[in-house]
């Protein structure tokens, strides 16, 4: 399943947002326009649908509803996420899952959230499988603390929606955390690399070797002094990534993740997320730490992976080299721009002045990056440093 449309209301930067989504989706915008928060709406659905997750857990993980609700929120105070899903990029829309929730409690009662409205609509049958509000029969404040999506029994009829959300993959490797992973206790769920080696260890050996082979093929091109990437266990039972560092000695030297460069670890992490993920993959600024020559290869590498694995990928980026790829379509890029009412999200196909630039023959980079550049950034030259 892939997501074909995302609608947000009062979600972090977005007071109102409604955008169509392509199979490969680039999200661009200035700093603090909400690129990560846009992805976080999808991570929220994952947190709700995954094993051990749920609505309260997902809200608590974000610091409570006050940290989620858009600062530009007006009369309407609930938060809503609505997602349309379809089987394949060329298919028809199949499901609409919508969740609106609001705050209860405060004072001596714990701060919690309850469902304001949850609905699951099956488009081909024109039928609501779920449509619940406070006024629905048999609903109480307690039942509304849980969504039907997060419960196995109540989500039976739309299991593929639940699985799609639960399988959303987000891995944003912070190299230092991978290097230190053996000195940290395993945390329950981690997106930043602390569990990276432990997660690799859980894979079937053949599967892991297959992924490592593919990663090694890329490393040979991007980091030519590294070869023979493998996964090992040391005498203390700790897992390591190991590779041969080629130098003037015929046999080279072995290095582990502790010696790999930041860029190498980031690249391994990105490739692992792309290869090993089962569902929709979210990549956060993949250009970080990488040489522009490597970065420029990513759009086509992702497209090639999608041809084989049929997986949707969301990529937030500031990178000229990524966006200068001439294969990027105007329907694949979402532009985020700030205004007084929060962030406005638009597909580039709907942004006239960006389309004018594209139609004149420029690349997507020239069409969108000038629109994401802060208008007064050149005034940094006027700042007095004391």
């Amino acid at each position: 399943m892939i997501i074909s449309k995302i609608e947000l209301h009062n979600w972090k930067n977005f007071q109102e947002c409604s955008v169509d989504i392509a199979e490969r989706c680039f999200i661009v915008g200035a700093n603090a326009t909400g690129k990560s928060n846009f992805l976080d709406a999808l991570r929220f659905l994952k947190d709700k649908a995954k094993k051990g997750g749920g609505l309260q857990t997902a809200v608590d993980a974000r610091g409570g509803i006050k940290k989620i609700r858009c600062l530009s929120a007006r009369k309407r105070t609930d938060i809503e996420i609505k997602v349309t899903l379809k089987e394949s990029p060329d298919g028809q829309d199949k499901w609409i899952y919508s969740l609106s929730f609001k705050h209860i409690g405060g004072g001596i009662r714990p701060n919690e959230v309850i469902v304001n409205n949850e609905s699951v609509f099956l488009i081909p049958q024109n039928e609501y499988l779920v449509n619940r509000t406070e006024r629905s029969e048999n609903e109480t404040e307690d039942t509304l603390k849980y969504t039907h999506l997060e419960q196995a029994v109540t989500s039976q009829k739309f299991l593929e929606v639940r699985s799609t959300f639960a399988e959303i993959e987000y891995l944003n490797i912070i190299p230092q955390l991978v290097r230190e992973s053996n000195s940290n206790p395993i945390v329950k769920e981690d997106y930043f690399g602390r569990n990276f080696l432990a997660d690799m260890a859980k894979l079937n050996e053949n599967t892991r070797n297959k992924y490592l082979q593919s990663i090694n093929d890329v490393l040979r091109c991007a980091v030519p002094q590294l070869d023979n990437l493998s996964f090992t266990k040391d005498g203390n039972g700790l897992y390591h990534l190991e590779a041969k560092y080629i130098h003037w000695r015929a046999q080279g030297s072995k290095q582990t993740e502790a010696q790999f460069s930041d860029g190498t670890l980031r690249l391994i992490g990105i490739l692992f997320a792309i290869l090993a993920g089962k569902g929709i993959t979210l990549l956060e600024e993949p250009e970080i730490n990488l040489h522009q020559g490597v970065v420029a290869q990513l759009p086509e590498f992702i497209a090639r992976m999608q041809r084989y694995k049929k997986r949707q990928v969301f990529i937030t980026t500031h990178s000229y080299d990524i966006l200068a790829n001439e294969g990027i379509d105007e329907k694949e890029v979402i532009l985020l721009q700030n205004n007084a009412e929060g962030t406005i999200a638009q597909v580039i196909a709907d942004v006239k002045n960006a389309k004018d630039v594209l139609d004149a023959g420029f690349t997507m980079a020239d069409a969108v990056l000038p629109l994401t550049k802060p208008g007064n950034v050149h005034n940094m030259a006027n700042i007095t440093i004391n």
Partner: protein, 212 residues
């Protein structure tokens, strides 16, 4: 307000366009600065020309070595039918020469005697009429960073602008020049020493009148 695209090779040229627009073309507003990554403008002339069919494109570039401004301009648009709103401006010989053309303010900015500033003189540019431009022995930015700034009495400014290598500019070159362009540079003074600047101002005034 008419939205326009501005095109410059570097921060200094873009700051000059902004200044001239602000002073002489109040009916124009910047839609975006192109290209997203600088120093590629001469390869993208057909694209800028096509874009000018939708909104004015104001381009400022430096004179190519050994060419006069009309030749540089005709080379840029060779084989193209130039759109009316594609405004090509060539700084002779570099945008920095236009800054120096405001001799009084630039001398004050550098903290040097005005007598040490280069002067303008009529030059042959290939046409019937001699054109007045600043007479500088080397490229204007090279002269500024390797010679003129060394005369400055302002130690901080000297440190920002003077070259620390054979060919490079100062480490805080843009940081020093951008505030000067925004706050002190007076194109009205400068245009009497640079016909190429004078013509850019006239073109923007005409564009402004067209969309007022």
């Amino acid at each position: 307000m008419k939205k326009v695209y501005i095109v410059g090779e570097d921060d200094v040229t873009k700051a000059i366009i902004r200044k001239i627009m602000g002073k002489y073309a109040p009916a124009l507003e910047i839609q975006a600065e192109l290209p997203a990554r600088g120093s590629e403008i001469k390869h993208k002339i057909p694209e800028f020309n096509a874009l000018a069919a939708t909104a004015p494109v104001i381009l400022l570039t430096d004179l190519d070595t050994d060419d006069c401004a009309p030749v540089t301009k005709s080379r840029l648009i060779e084989g193209l039918r130039r759109q009316d709103d594609f405004i090509i401006n060539i700084a002779v010989d570099e945008a920095e020469a236009w800054l120096m053309a405001d001799r009084v303010n630039f001398a004050r900015f550098l903290g040097i005697d005005i007598e040490k500033m280069p002067v303008s003189c009529p030059q042959k540019q290939g046409g019937m009429k001699a054109l007045t431009e600043m007479q500088i022995a080397t490229k204007a930015s090279f002269y500024l960073t390797h010679s003129l700034i060394l005369e400055s009495t302002k130690a901080d400014l000297k440190e920002q602008i003077k070259s620390h290598g054979r060919k490079c500019k100062g480490k805080e070159y843009n940081t020093a020049l951008l505030p000067f362009i925004a706050n002190q540079w007076n194109p009205e003074n400068a245009k009497s020493n640079s016909d190429s600047l004078h013509r850019m101002i006239s073109r923007l005034q005409a564009l402004n009148a067209k969309y007022s």
